[in-house]
Structures are given as structure tokens and as C-alpha cells.
Symmetry: C2
Subunit: 344 residues, 2 copies
């Protein structure tokens, strides 16, 4: 079935209402809607509105605390830990990002490790929040095992995203990178399965760890870098785990209760995240940073395209164009989610 | 011609002597030899002893200051800038790493931006130094344009490495990732050219930006992720530039005087680097970190191998095995470098 096109404001209100009905506190609702709208407007549909039914289910089931008392503990001039009280990861992560910015304003750099959190949607939402405060932002999380190690026959890491963002003077939107450390997201496999399409080469493997293009047979993803350079993607997934789980003491990828498909929706999953804010004022200075960013982006966008390729884009350019289009024309919502939100 | 096998201590002394002859100060020699031996022992031969002739040439030519007065300016409780005084990048970067550790000891996190530096060899040397001080380390630099943007017909970024390291309790060597954000290093192209071998697919392009497997025709590298996902590698190269050059105010990739092949070996190149140290004691705590790292590595190394693949390795495992072998049996040195060092 075709998606239903929903005006952004209407979608945000519907998300808000459904989360409120599931018992979420005002601040939890606000953070979750903000993160879901970030993803839905930017075209990251896997991490947007379609997750709301899942979040409502785990809020009602007890896995996620609908009214958490998030607690920040400052552990040093540049560091803090944040206890998410098993609430929605979006609230934990936005609070962590805000604290990192505040700390960086004082100290030049602010790093916040978060524990007792849950799925936080798109990592880019939190890197973006830091960039919107005028700083360079980094946000990461680990996630359920679904990506094989390089040369392995079994899933080990999650799709473990690395997100970076940086403010661009004179532009309303930051430079924004939000990448999974697998080549493709799990959602692509599910989509290709339903469409009966073949997967690209070297992005997924069957239950025995043998690369397959058959979306039905795909049981795990392969790390960024494919058959020859997948050791790099696997190591970058490890960076996400190192910062989010090992530094913070949160759950390792292979030890998570599965996000989806587990009978247990009452036990908290104990996720960790990590965010970092860096204030350009304490390095080369704000003016130098702004000029450098501008010179860099101008040179990048002026690069000649290869034959048959479109214009050269900076990270985020494609997403901000989707946002402008969707703000004007509405957001496509899959039929199941539209029904859940009573929009169809 | 076959490489010459040189005992590690003999090699280190020969490197020391040649740099001293080129006029380098004691601390410059020490830092450079340490970084070159890191790379040569770990099997990163592209960034090891073979660079010494180049370094001596630019030390004598005036591009690199043989007796720099490196200057650290603390800009905040968690931040500092380091002026390399146009000396060898190895000295700048080790000083930056030491300062980052000292700052992180006080503040939980320490970030140091370096400017007026030069080629620093392998980024992993500095992340390793931070891990050896008991902290999580990150080190990066930008470099001369040689890697095309995704879909572009022209080189833009350097091979811009990202290096991360983390201490492993009870092990003498850290977890260590040191990766170029291109699929392969430029050195591989040169090697395949001399061997008349075909390149792998989607790692290099000809002068028109068209992917080629002909090492002779290869004029630029392609970013990690290949034909389909190269936007990720290109964005990660941008992360290196963002931290090393834009935050610090140093030279952008496309604006460098070429490291090799320029007539001008008298003008400093104004390179920037960035290092970050994170003290686990200020996040989940040292005991939690040590236990988490151990649990993570045990699970990783116990992962089943895919059919035909070797045992599963953590980042650094392969390199530390090479180090042990080379410490026992000597380091292979290419004939030109061996002649330069008067070892052949």
C-alpha cells in the first residue's frame, strides 16, 4: 500500500497524543516527538514516526519508564554521567547533549556518558542539537547485535551509528553526518524483502555468515567496507560500543534483550549513549572556525562531478533538501503507522 | 629488490643518526624515531622508516624547523592549542597527546588542537600514547588532496586517518584502530604499479574520476565504502578535516603545498592535528571500564569465523602480532631506505 502524506504539524501532534496516551511525561513526549520529527522530516524514515507504535508498546509494557527522573552527575570540569532512569532514550540523549554544551561552554569540551537509557532513534538528532548551540557535536550509541564482524559467521555489533555535526555560519542548517557502521540499515533488508528485490553485493549474509543478495535469506548485515575492507566498518562499530557501553558501563551489543521480537517488554534494556560538545571558541576561535567551514564547504560543493553523477553534496545537504520538501508538501507515513496514529 | 631485514634496535639507532645529521633537536629526533618505529614494528611500512629520507630532506630544505620551540596555550579547563613552530609533526603530536592526557587527568576530558605542524606519520602512534597512559585516545590529521569525493571527478580530501585506542587491563598492548578514510592507502597503488598487479574494484579512479583497476592509470583514491557507500568514507574524511584543520585554523586538504613532488621544500605546510583523551575514571569508573573491555574483547574473539576466514581479530591484534614477530626477527626495510640509512 502507498504511504499517506501527512502535514508536519499534524504528524507532530498525532505523535504527541499517542505518546501522551501511553503515559509519557511532558518532557518525555517533547523529546521523543522532536527526535522522531527530526528523522521523519530529514527522510530517515527508519528512525522516524514509524517507531512510535513500538515506543508506546514498551512504555505500556514497563520496559521504558514513562515518567523518568533523569539525573546528571558532574564528574569533572569536562565530564558528566547521566542516569536516564530507564526512560525514553530521546529524553536521555537530548539532556546529555544540553549538558555537554553547557559543560563545553565552561571548559571548552563537554562529554556526557548516559546509562539506563533506551532506544534513542536517530543519533544525528543529538549531534544536530549540539551544532545548533554553536558547537561541534558527536553522538553515538550501541545497539542490538545484527552486524557480523569482518570474516565472522555471526552477528556481533549493532548498526552502531556515529553522528557528527558542525554549525555553518550564515546557513540555517548544520553540516550533519549520521551514519550506521554497517553498509545498509536493517530496514533496507526488510524493505527489499517485501519488494522481492535483490540486495546489493556484500551488504548482508545468510545464517551461516555467507554473503547473500537474497533479502529473504539475509540474517545479518555486513560492516561498512564490504568483503575487502569490512574490518574498518567493524572497528568503527567497536568505537560506538567503546564510547557508549564500555566507558559508561552500559549493556554490550550482544547482551541486549532484543529491541523487537522479545516476549519481554517489561525489563529495561540498560542502553548507553555518549555525546561530546566542542566549543570552537576554545580552539582556533569562532571567526577562524566560521571562515574555515565556509571555505571548506565552498570548495567541496565546487568539486566537479564524475560522469553521470549529480552535483557534489556535503553531509546533510541531501537531508536538508528533503526536509524543505517535506515541510512544504508533507511527510509520507506508512499505512500501519498512519492507522496507529489515526491519520488514515 | 628484496627488502633488507634489520634488527629493531639497529634500525632505531640508524633513524636517530640520520635525523640528527639533518639537524633535528634531541626532542625532535626522539619523537620522530618513536613514531617511525611504531609504524615499522606494527607493519605499517608506508608510515615507517621509509619516510626518514623525506623528513631529512625537508628538515634541510627549511620546510620543517629542525629545532622548534613547541608552545602549548591552555584555552580552557578541557582544551588547549599547541603551536608546533613548524617542526616535525611527530613532536607536535606527541606533545599534544601528553597535554591531552594531563588535561584529562584534571578534567575528565582533554582536547588539544595543533597548528603549524607537519606530516606526523601514523595517527595510531598518538592514540596509542594516550591509551598507554590509561585513557581512551583519539588522534586525527588531514592531509594533501588525493581522495575523490563521492561521485566526484577530482581529488579533494587526503587519506585523512581516524585513530582510536583504548587500554586493555592485563594486556601489554591497547585496542588500536588506525584507519585511512579511503579504502586503500596511496602506497598500495604505488606498490601495485611496480608489481604490475590489478587493483581491487572501486578503490581508485583515473584522471577523469572513472573507477579503474589499472594501477598505472589510477590518479586518485576513492573513499571507504566504494561505489555504493563512498559517501560514508568521504564524510569521515571530512570529520578529520573538521577537527584537524577547521577547528584549529590550519590548512585545508586542497590548499596544501604537496608533501611530495613540490619544488618548494622551504615553505612550511601549516598542518593541523587534533587529539582527544578521555579518562574512564570520570565516566563509568576504571573498574567498570576494565571489566567491560575484557567482556567485549572476550566475546569478540570468541565469535565464529565464516567459512574460509581466519580467527576473528580485534583492531590492533594483527599489528601487535607483527610487532612481536618483528621484534624477534627484525624489520624489513626497502633497499632505497636501507641505503639511505647506510644499512645495506
Amino acid at each position: 500500500m502507498d504511504p499517506i502524506i501527512v502535514e508536519a504539524g499534524v504528524l507532530a501532534r498525532a505523535l504527541e497524543e499517542s505518546l501522551r496516551e501511553a503515559g509519557a511525561s511532558d518532557e518525555s513526549v517533547e523529546a521523543c516527538v522532536r527526535a522522531l520529527m527530526h528523522a521523519s522530516l530529514l527522510g530517515v524514515d527508519s528512525h522516524g514516526a514509524r517507531l512510535v507504535a513500538h515506543y508506546c508498546r514498551v512504555l505500556k509494557g514497563g520496559r521504558v519508564n514513562p515518567r523518568p527522573a533523569v539525573k546528571l552527575t558532574r564528574t569533572g570540569p569536562a565530564a558528566a554521567m547521566l542516569d536516564g532512569d530507564d526512560g525514553l532514550g530521546h529524553l536521555t540523549a537530548y539532556r546529555a547533549a544540553e549538558a555537554a554544551v553547557e559543560i563545553a561552554r565552561e571548559s571548552g569540551v563537554g562529554a556526557v556518558g548516559a546509562t539506563r537509557s533506551s532506544h534513542f532513534g536517530a543519533a544525528g538528532a543529538y549531534a544536530r542539537a549540539i551544532a545548533e548551540a554553536g558547537m561541534v557535536g558527536f553522538a553515538t550509541t550501541n545497539a542490538d547485535s545484527i552486524v557480523a564482524l569482518f570474516g565472522s559467521a555471526k552477528a556481533f555489533h549493532g548498526t552502531n551509528p556515529l553522528a557528527f555535526a558542525a554549525p555553518v555560519a550564515g546557513a540555517s542548517r548544520p553540516w550533519l553526518l549520521d551514519m550506521a557502521t554497517s553498509s545498509i540499515p536493517q530496514n533496507r533488508v526488510l524493505l527489499y524483502r517485501s519488494l522481492g528485490r535483490e540486495l546489493p553485493e556484500n551488504v548482508a549474509a545468510d545464517a551461516a555468515g555467507v554473503p547473500t543478495r537474497d533479502a529473504q535469506a539475509a540474517e545479518m548485515l555486513l560492516p561498512l567496507g564490504g568483503a575487502d575492507y569490512g574490518f574498518k566498518g567493524a572497528a568503527l562499530a567497536g568505537v560506538a560500543t567503546l564510547f557508549s557501553a564500555i566507558l559508561t558501563g552500559a549493556t554490550l551489543d550482544h547482551a541486549f534483550i532484543p529491541m523487537v521480537g522479545s516476549q519481554d517488554i517489561a525489563t529495561p534494556r540498560g542502553m548507553g549513549h555518549f555525546v561530546l560538545a566542542i566549543d570552537p571558541a576554545r580552539f582556533g576561535g569562532t571567526a577562524v572556525f566560521e571562515a574555515g567551514m565556509r571555505a571548506y564547504l565552498d570548495a567541496l560543493r565546487a568539486s566537479p562531478a564524475a560522469e553521470g553523477a549529480g552535483p557534489i553534496l556535503a553531509p546533510g545537504d541531501r537531508e536538508w533538501a528533503v526536509e524543505a520538501e517535506r515541510r512544504a508538501n508533507g511527510v509520507p507515513i506508512d499505512p500501519d503507522t498512519a492507522a496507529f496514529l489515526r491519520l488514515s
